[in-house]
């Protein structure tokens, strides 16, 4: 809601660093999994501006996760081109890819924290992109990283659990820790793969509120895969529907209502 006014404002202050290149630029993207008969994504084109909040909706298997993972090559695309903030992702060398991933925060449905380690430890690891392997353990991390990790935990409201093992925390708390770890990256783009699908409605709202308000504060681009149309309309500036690996629908969130979006879920039960 409060997110709506953000894109124009943030574009101005980031213009110096990003130039005129869109935050995310995807052309003709194609993905086919090994041994699959059809493409998971076929000839997909997508352009997202810096500071935009985009919701990806679609059924299971529509290609939402594949698209998000592809953007940072956690899945290798079969064909096409991807650029993030003007930097080529497809064909990037290993170190170049690491540098791209460093600027892109990824939030997963199942949090993907390292179990048995404390919340603080997990958040410190978010600095590994910048500082390398020394941040894999808090005891060898520089002091400012440790300070920043505490600030990130405070920002997401779980500073009180810094010393607790993450596998003893609730789902909502774990997702907050995951967001804090992502904040440590100081990302320019946030990709969220069904960040609230494992959470109850109240925590889901709280987590999305948190993620989107942080993104708005810092002018960060957000692409989030969501299952709930209602949440997509509330938190995104723009809604994109995926069906069977192709772009089915693309409109500003203000221009669409739920009845218009429901077919995306209804028709694609193939």
């Amino acid at each position: 809601m409060g997110v709506a006014a953000k894109p124009s404002g943030s574009e101005g202050d980031l213009a110096g660093t990003t130039g005129s290149a869109p935050a995310i630029d995807v052309t003709n993207l194609r993905v086919r999994y090994r041994r699959a008969k059809t493409d998971a994504l076929s000839d997909l084109d997508l352009r997202v501006h810096q500071g935009e909040a985009v919701a990806l909706i679609g059924t299971n298997g529509a290609g939402k996760s594949t698209l998000l993972r592809c953007l940072v090559r956690l899945i290798e695309p079969t064909g096409g081109r991807i650029a993030i903030s003007g930097t080529e992702v497809t064909g990037a060398s290993r170190p170049a890819l690491r540098a791209i991933r460093r600027d892109v925060g990824f939030v997963f449905q199942r949090y993907h924290l390292i179990p048995r380690l404390t919340a603080f430890h997990n958040v410190v690891q978010g600095a590994m992109g910048r500082h390398g392997s020394r941040c894999s353990w808090p005891s060898t991390s520089p002091g400012d990283v440790r300070q920043e990790a505490m600030q990130c935990l405070e920002r997401v409201g779980v500073a009180a659990f810094a010393d607790r093992r993450v596998d003893t925390l609730s789902g909502g708390q774990q997702q907050r820790v995951a967001i804090a770890r992502m904040l440590m990256q100081r990302p320019r783009v946030i990709l969220a793969d069904e960040p609230v699908a494992s959470l109850d409605p109240a925590s889901a709202n709280a987590v999305l509120d948190l993620m989107c308000s942080i993104a708005a504060e810092r002018g960060v681009t957000v692409i989030m895969a969501l299952h709930q149309i209602e949440l997509a309309l509330r938190y995104a500036d723009r809604v994109i529907g995926l069906r069977n690996g192709t772009l089915d629908f693309d409109q500003p969130a203000g221009d669409c209502d739920e009845t218009q979006l429901n077919p995306i879920f209804a028709e694609s039960t193939t």
């Binding site: 940072v72 690491r98 791209i100 997963f108 993907h112 380690l117 392997s133 770890r181």
Partner: protein, 269 residues
Amino acid sequence: MTEPATRTAPPPRVRRPSLLTLVIVLVVGALLVHGWTEGATVRPDSLLTGVFRLSEFVDDAVPPDVSRVGPILAALLVTVEMALLGTIIGVILSVPLAVMAARNTTPHWSLYGVSRAIITVSRTIPDLIWGLIFVIAVGLGPEAGVLAITVDVMGFCGRFFAESIEDIDPGRIEGLRAIGAPRAGVIVGGVIPACLPSFVTTSMFALESSARSSVVLGLVGAGGIGIELATSMTLLRYDEALTIILAILVVVVAFERLSAAIRRRVLGV
């Protein structure tokens, strides 16, 4: 249309065995018969005389002779220390070996092949033979024993560490890779902490088996209590031998208790 009702008789009592079953039975049978002719037997008459001879041994051995208990305990201490050092070195070497030998963390397929080969060779050659080999290499004494145990532990831990790395939830690694973490950071900060409980329990099993093998390694001159036992036996000092056997029993049981306690704590938390 075949009607189910036409079948009145129950299924046959005995099914004809498959060809594979027949082959297995024939091969095993042939091996047993051949073995019997070669002396791999259990004959009632020799069992009977054997029991009488065993009772002679027991007569001689009881009461155990504790006059040399000092040197025996000293040798036993060395045995325990051999097991400890060998296990520690073996476990430490197993970690990088397992990282290379796990399909999801190996840096390169050639390293995967090499480390798998090292693990297989370490595991398939029995510890006593490693003992013999290292006695040739570094001479008689506990050092050969330590090396033999190290290699034995590498074969055991390398394999099970690698398996537990391969069983790790791929999402957790993906989470760190998405941060842009370097490969070493993913392993040190993610893979190893996530696998730690299974690493500890495996290491404890390795320690138990090292405690047992360090006892026997002395028999081939690789240091420790085994040499004492061999000497007492060849000198027919059965009472002394019994003291040694009892001491070994206590130590091995103690090791097993200790490792069980540690495993329970690690798994329980």
